[in-house]
């Protein structure tokens, strides 16, 4: 089995169990660098797949929560090298997806990155500033290790392009629910379910809905039209305020 297939398998297992797949996101090393693996282990209890954010100095597709967490992590010395070392030394067996802007990956070097990430338990990557058309080099490196590159689709993506992206995505399809950055707290537009149905129709791997997911009612609603939900900013805000992250995640699934 290719590493990226582990992601799909985990999400399909949730569907088979009659649940909405849960994909929690945390910025690595936030709020406290030394507690990274502890936080990650905690959210792995409820996460079917976990998304680990590599902090970047200029997160242009992120809202204030992830900007804040990224800045703090960088200040504490969190780097991609460090994250991979930590993951490699941990015994986490939930499939991990690394979410990173492109420049830290470029700085690491694609070949070394693919080899090291595969050894550390990473199954795929999400790169918000890397559209499909520019992804050839990174994909070539990831493919040698069976790592996937998850494609994002958005409500602004025309249907022919959406169909193409659904075909080429690996692990899952990241269906962005809003036209905007992460972490918004506006209510989800009603059209989102129609859009998700279109994505679902073109998909042959699981579809996960993300951006602005905060409430159990949203999870219930999105879960009828997608295989999983991604929860990032809302989870980080709970972790920041010292609340029980695992309980929050369990609560989301109702």
């Amino acid at each position: 089995m290719q590493l990226h297939q582990k992601i799909s398998v985990a999400l399909n297992a949730a569907t088979a169990a009659g649940r909405v797949g849960l994909v929690p996101f945390v910025t690595a090393g936030y709020p406290i660098k030394d507690e990274f693996i502890k936080v990650l282990s905690e959210i792995c209890k409820d996460g079917d797949v976990v998304e680990v954010g590599v902090p970047f100095s200029d997160p242009m597709a992120d809202g204030i929560t992830i900007q804040r967490s990224s800045h703090s992590a960088i200040e504490q010395g969190v780097t991609l090298n460090w994250i991979i070392d930590q993951l490699a030394a941990s015994d986490i067996d939930t499939p991990i997806v690394l979410m990173s802007y492109l420049n830290p990956l470029l700085a690491y070097g694609y070949e070394a990155l693919a080899a090291d990430a595969a050894k550390a338990g990473v199954c795929g990557f999400i790169v918000p500033d890397l559209p499909w058309e520019e992804s050839e080099h990174l994909r070539a490196a990831l493919e040698t290790q069976g790592l996937g590159l998850v494609q994002l689709v958005t409500p602004a993506t025309p249907e022919d392009r959406l169909e193409m992206l659904c075909k080429v995505s690996q692990g899952f399809i990241y269906a962005v629910t809003v036209t905007g950055v992460t972490g918004g707290d506006q209510s989800m537009p009603a059209e989102v379910v129609d859009y998700l149905d279109v994505v679902k129709r073109h998909a042959s791997i699981p579809v996960c809905a993300g951006f602005g997911v905060r409430e159990p009612s949203q999870v219930a609603m999105l879960g009828k039209h997608a295989d999983g939900v991604i929860v990032g900013s809302a989870l980080l805000e709970k972790i920041e305020s010292g609340e029980d992250a695992a309980a929050f995640l369990r609560g989301l699934q109702g």
Binding site: S57, A61, L80, N103, D129, V153
Partner: protein
């Protein structure tokens, strides 16, 4: 990638230059050789394609182009003068000519780009314009152009820049722009661009992002070059007429690279003209003390383009420093990255103090107060003149220095106190 660039053969260099001159760059993928491209979030991919399509229609729309040229003449005041710098010529032992973008409406070359893009925004049916600004010159130009064509605009500006370029903040308000301070990141131009992108991502269908330099995802570097090339096209004709021939060298300051590309691009085919781009050397060569991207950077991706960039071993973008807000940026346009790689343009840097000294010299001997950004070009040209006596030098004087009064007062009083 670095090695491949350094080992580029002479034949490859010549071929890249040929393609640039022939208009084959940017290619279909928005590239200038290895540089450029479009590294934008998926939400913007369709908007960028629509923008590219819109630019082609805009350039082919004769009526609109006639109207734009009329506005450039009657509202901006083009062509801007080419001034023989008699005082500097004498002092430097050279024949010095200044292309006076400081005389353009709103006081800098930025208006050439802002007006053109505002026309384009209107044509594309945008409901609002969003822009970033560093020195505030692009913000003021955008505010003025949007007022002229009748479209609301919001300008993001770093909190650090709001302080050091205060006069321009008030001008933007007077011209009807909504100025939003950016406190995140480094609170300068780079953070303002991050924030403008975020705002655009929220409404890509109705918002037009009016980007102020030759950076960003394709098609921006190309669009900005096309709109700024009026500088070099005019200057080339003017210097032939006034001085009787082409210059030996053209010199411009480089932040993101828009005034420099505007001056250089129309002269790339004139193989007898040397070209010199001047970056901000800030306090000195240590990492973080300057924004000399082409001198100290390596290829990387920021704000949608693959170009030279200042970043650390972990890929984090480097904080930069320059006394001039407009040059205080860790990246540079992809066409400059190629021009450096193929050796067509040489890039040097000039420190804060040397730039300020050149500013005073220009005030005292030409009666012109240049922007601190433009003063970097003056200082770079002066150094070149020392090594190459008796040559004809064309300098892009990108803007006027009125906006810099808070910084100048601070530096002057600091000096006086020190003396």
């Amino acid at each position: 990638m670095n090695e491949a660039l350094e080992n580029m053969s002479d034949a490859d260099r010549a071929e890249h230059l040929r393609k640039l001159i022939a208009g084959e760059y940017p290619d279909k993928r928005g590239r200038y050789g290895p540089f450029g491209g479009s590294y934008a979030p998926e939400t913007l991919v369709t908007a960028l394609k629509r923008l590219e399509q819109g630019i082609h229609e805009f350039l082919a729309d004769d009526e609109l182009q006639v109207e734009l040229r009329r506005e450039l003449k009657d509202w901006v005041g083009r062509p801007t003068a080419l001034t023989h710098a008699r005082g500097l010529s004498k002092r430097w032992g050279a024949d010095v000519w200044l292309k006076r973008e400081d005389l353009a409406h709103t006081g800098a070359h930025k208006i050439n780009n802002a007006l053109g893009q505002a026309f384009l925004a209107k044509k594309l049916g945008a409901k609002r314009v969003v822009a970033e600004t560093g020195a505030g010159q692009h913000g003021v130009a955008t505010a003025a152009a949007c007022a002229r064509v009748g479209i609301p605009c919001t300008v993001y500006m770093g909190a650090v820049d709001i302080e050091r370029q205060a006069p321009n903040v008030d001008r933007m308000y007077q011209l009807g722009a909504n100025v939003v301070p950016v406190t995140g990141g480094d609170a300068t131009l780079r953070a303002a661009i991050d924030e403008a992108f975020r705002n655009w991502v929220a409404d890509p269908a109705e918002t037009f992002y009016l980007l102020g330099s030759a950076v960003g995802p394709h098609p921006y570097p190309w669009l900005v070059q096309v709109l700024q090339s009026v500088i070099g096209t005019e200057a080339r004709a003017q210097i032939i007429e006034a001085a009787g021939g082409l210059p030996d060298i053209a010199v411009a300051c480089v932040g993101g690279g828009s005034n420099a590309i505007g001056l250089f691009h129309p002269m790339l085919a004139d193989s007898g003209i040397e070209m010199l781009g001047i970056e901000a050397g800030g306090l000195g060569p240590d990492l973080g003390d300057n924004s000399a991207t082409l001198a100290a950077g390596k290829p990387g991706v920021l704000h949608g383009t693959y170009s030279m960039l200042l970043y650390d071993a972990d890929g984090q973008i480097q904080e930069t420093h320059s006394v001039s807000a407009g040059l205080d940026y860790p990246g540079v346009g992809p066409e400059h990255a190629l021009l450096k790689t193929i050796g067509r343009v040489t890039y040097h840097s000039i420190t804060d103090d040397v730039a300020l000294d050149a500013l005073r010299e220009c005030c005292a001997f030409e009666g012109i107060l240049p922007a601190i950004e433009s003063s970097h070009a003056l200082a770079g040209a002066r150094e070149w003149a020392k090594e190459n006596p008796g040559k004809r030098i064309l300098i892009g004087l990108s803007g006027r220095g009125d906006k810099d009064m808070p910084t100048l007062s601070k530096h002057m009083s600091f000096r006086e106190a020190a003396e």
